[in-house]
């Protein structure tokens, strides 16, 4: 219990000082496995003053078919651990069906978490000799739930989070015929399969597999006393498991997913120390423990496949490492899999900082995996926003240590995710290419950049919504239009959602920006404009402004108006409108230009396709 004194004292100090819990404290909170401690943490954190932008605000509604009880505090603690600050709205006891039947969830929540209990799906009385009737009842209850949630979707802006429900022991064990027991279990597993299927029906429904996860962690699902006494369906341990999963959904939705894995070599991607054991002495592949390291490489490769950028962070001589990466027959990761290879004897914190600059990503996008407590400690001290994964101890746990926290979770993969590693690799090449030019303008001309701009298509909405959720730096107003809002706007004749893609001599960057525009009278209002940090410093934003003004001119608009709302993280966009030729209006933070007379602000090194 004393292990958690530091955590609880630290949280208390943060609450008293009205500051955000430090990244180190949040990591402790993320790793705390003791539900009682997490409950206390959640209690304490209820009094935390708003600490934006250190924590991302999120409105979360909890609806339950049972008592919410300790889930409130566990969920709050888990949400703060991942970097969000929730405003929790709890549905009253016994109002689950009523809340959904209203067809709309109050308070415009970002997330609606439904806590489901077996009693919602089981009839009060059921016969052990009529499993067909029981199955039909379970199916009917699921259909009701599905209908109610789908009816709420059009008028509720946020994402619904549901979960699978463990097989009720009473259902399983009431049946003495093993055949009937199998049939009942099958009906219940089908219910869970149907619940999971809801996520495929609508992008705004997410379902976490609580039942599956409880089979893998050493906590009891239920406490019969609390279930019967207080209608509490799950133990604190099971609720914490659920809360952590819900928090991962919240983090992914809030743009807090990590994008980069920086990984060590010696005793992490392979066993042994290359400088001592030599290439032939490395443990890699074959039987234990070599298979552990190769399995980790497999897991890392799968992450890369899904868009995670890899950075090598190793204290070694570069020559022998290149040799192993290129030639070792058991290596699964090869040199081209890494966007940046920092193999040298400099401190790793400096190397990671440099890699972040090269990739134009913040430290908060990084996860660092290393077997050395010294290296992890040093990186944490220098770059507290980097998440660290310990690779020491038995190498059999390497894969789980890396994957279990879900650092890289995203709502869904887009085309850009799939291309990202290659994109960032060509960016690193681009950085190398840039050293041979007299001025950066010469370099930009030689890049032959093209901006592909048009109204968003159905296929692009997912990516555009993702940019809206994830872009923090070049985000002019901070208004985050999700998939639903973007879809609705794109179909409205008075509104325009535009997507912006960029390509250059090194390849296709894909969609890097988006704008949400509303026409009021004859004035075009840019509600928000976002641009991926991947393309900063190339004048893309001015080409976008030029394009918008051009379209407004064609449409006969008398003015284009835009706003800049400082968020603490979007300083990079400060002064954008003025640089694009707009003038400040009487209204604070609003800038306008007259399309008919506006000079072009298209940089000379950027062309629209077809202009060349």
């Amino acid at each position: 219990m004393n292990d958690f004194t530091e955590l609880l004292d630290g949280l208390r100090a943060a609450v008293d000082g009205r500051t955000a819990p430090s990244p180190g404290l949040r990591q402790l909170l993320a790793e705390a496995g003791d539900p009682a401690t997490m409950r206390r943490a959640g209690h304490l954190l209820a009094d935390l003053a708003p600490v934006e932008p250190d924590l991302r605000p999120i409105r979360v509604t909890v609806l339950a078919t049972c008592t919410i009880g300790p889930f409130e505090h566990l969920l709050r603690a888990a949400l703060i651990a991942v970097g969000t600050q929730p405003t929790l709205l709890l549905g009253d006891y016994g109002t689950f069906d009523l809340a959904l039947a209203a067809g709309e969830i109050d308070g415009s929540p970002d997330l609606v978490t439904c806590l489901l209990d077996e009693r919602y799906f089981l009839p009060r009385e059921w016969s052990a000799v009529d499993t067909e009737g029981l199955t039909a009842h379970i199916e009917a209850r699921f259909a009701e739930l599905r209908g109610a949630i789908r009816a709420c979707l059009p008028r509720t802006p946020g994402t619904f989070v549901l979960h699978t429900v463990p097989v009720p022991a009473e259902l399983r064990d009431s049946l003495i015929s093993v055949r009937a027991r199998a049939a009942a279990a099958r009906a219940w597993h089908r219910l869970n399969a149907d619940l999971l299927g809801l996520a495929e029906e609508d992008g705004r429904i997410t379902v976490v597999d609580l039942a599956g996860e409880l089979a893998d962690v050493a906590v009891a699902a239920r406490d019969d006393r609390l279930h019967r006494y207080a209608d509490l369906p799950y133990t604190d341990g099971a609720l914490l498991t659920l809360a952590r999963r819900v928090a991962r959904v919240a983090a992914a939705r809030s743009g807090l997913s990590r994008k980069v894995l920086a990984v060590d070599l010696d005793n992490t991607l392979w066993g042994g120390v290359l400088g001592e054991a030599g290439e032939a002495g490395l443990q890699l592949g074959g039987l234990y423990p070599g298979n552990c390291y190769q399995d980790l490489q497999r897991a890392v490769h799968r992450l890369r496949e899904q868009g995670v950028i890899l950075v090598l962070a190793s204290k070694n001589d570069a020559g022998p490492v290149d040799e192993v990466l290129t030639r070792h027959p058991e290596m699964l990761l090869r040199p081209e899999d890494f966007a940046v290879r920092a193999v040298n004897w400099s401190p790793k914190a400096g190397n990671l900082r440099h890699a972040a600059e090269t990739l134009n990503l913040a430290g908060s996008a990084f996860v660092f995996m290393d077997d050395s407590a010294f290296e992890r400690g040093h990186v944490s001290a220098e770059l507290p926003e980097v998440a660290v994964v310990a690779a020491d101890g038995d190498p059999a746990h390497l894969v789980r240590s890396l994957l279990r926290p879900g650092w890289f979770d995203v709502p869904e993969l887009t085309d850009t995710d799939l291309k990202r590693p290659a994109l960032y690799r060509s960016r690193a090449l681009r950085t190398g290419f840039s050293t041979g030019f007299a001025s950066s303008e010469d370099y930009l001309h030689a890049l032959r950049t093209r901006l592909i701009a048009h109204p968003v298509t159905t296929f692009e909405i997912g990516r555009v919504a993702q940019l809206s959720a994830r872009t923090n730096q070049f985000n002019l107003t901070g208004i985050r239009f999700d998939e639903g809002a973007t879809t609705a706007m794109s179909a409205d004749p008075d509104r325009l959602v535009a997507s912006f893609a960029v390509s250059d001599r090194f390849g296709d960057e894909g969609i890097v920006g988006a704008a949400w525009i509303e026409s009021r009278g004859r004035v075009w209002w840019v509600l928000n404009l976002v641009l991926s940090c991947r393309v900063f410093g190339r004048g893309i934003e001015f080409a976008i402004a030029d394009w918008i003004v051009g379209r407004a001119r064609e449409a006969g608009a008398t003015a284009v108006a835009g706003r800049y709302v400082p968020s603490g993280r979007n300083k990079v966009a400060d002064g954008f409108w003025e640089k694009a030729g707009f003038t400040p209006s009487d209204e604070d933070g609003t800038y306008t230009v007259v399309p008919a007379t506006a000079p072009s602000c298209l940089p000379t090194w950027i062309a629209y396709p077809g202009d060349e």
Partner: protein, 89 residues
């Protein structure tokens, strides 16, 4: 510290945290109901006590304990029988 004293201090600390009252005040007015002891706070205390002391309490007996002393006695009895069971096993 004897085992009993140890258990008593865990119970008192837990009650003090859950009910937000100093231990002295709990000792001065023994009846739990005067300190806001309701179904929510009692279950919160139950969860903490069971987790800290690795005991399982009978819910009927737990709810029947209306005073601080009665609760300490109940938890101490459960802790002792648990430890005894452990030794036998």
């Amino acid at each position: 510290m004897t085992e009993l004293d140890d258990t008593a201090s865990v119970v008192l600390n837990t009650l003090s945290e859950v009910l937000g009252k100093p231990i002295g005040e709990l000792r001065a007015r023994e009846v739990l109901a005067t300190h806001g002891w309701d179904s929510l706070s009692s279950l919160e205390a139950l969860s903490r006590l069971e987790s800290r002391l690795a005991v399982t309490l009978d819910l009927r007996a737990y709810h029947a304990a209306h005073t601080v002393t009665a609760l300490i006695d109940l938890v101490a009895a459960a802790a002792t029988s648990n430890a005894g069971a452990g030794r036998r096993g």
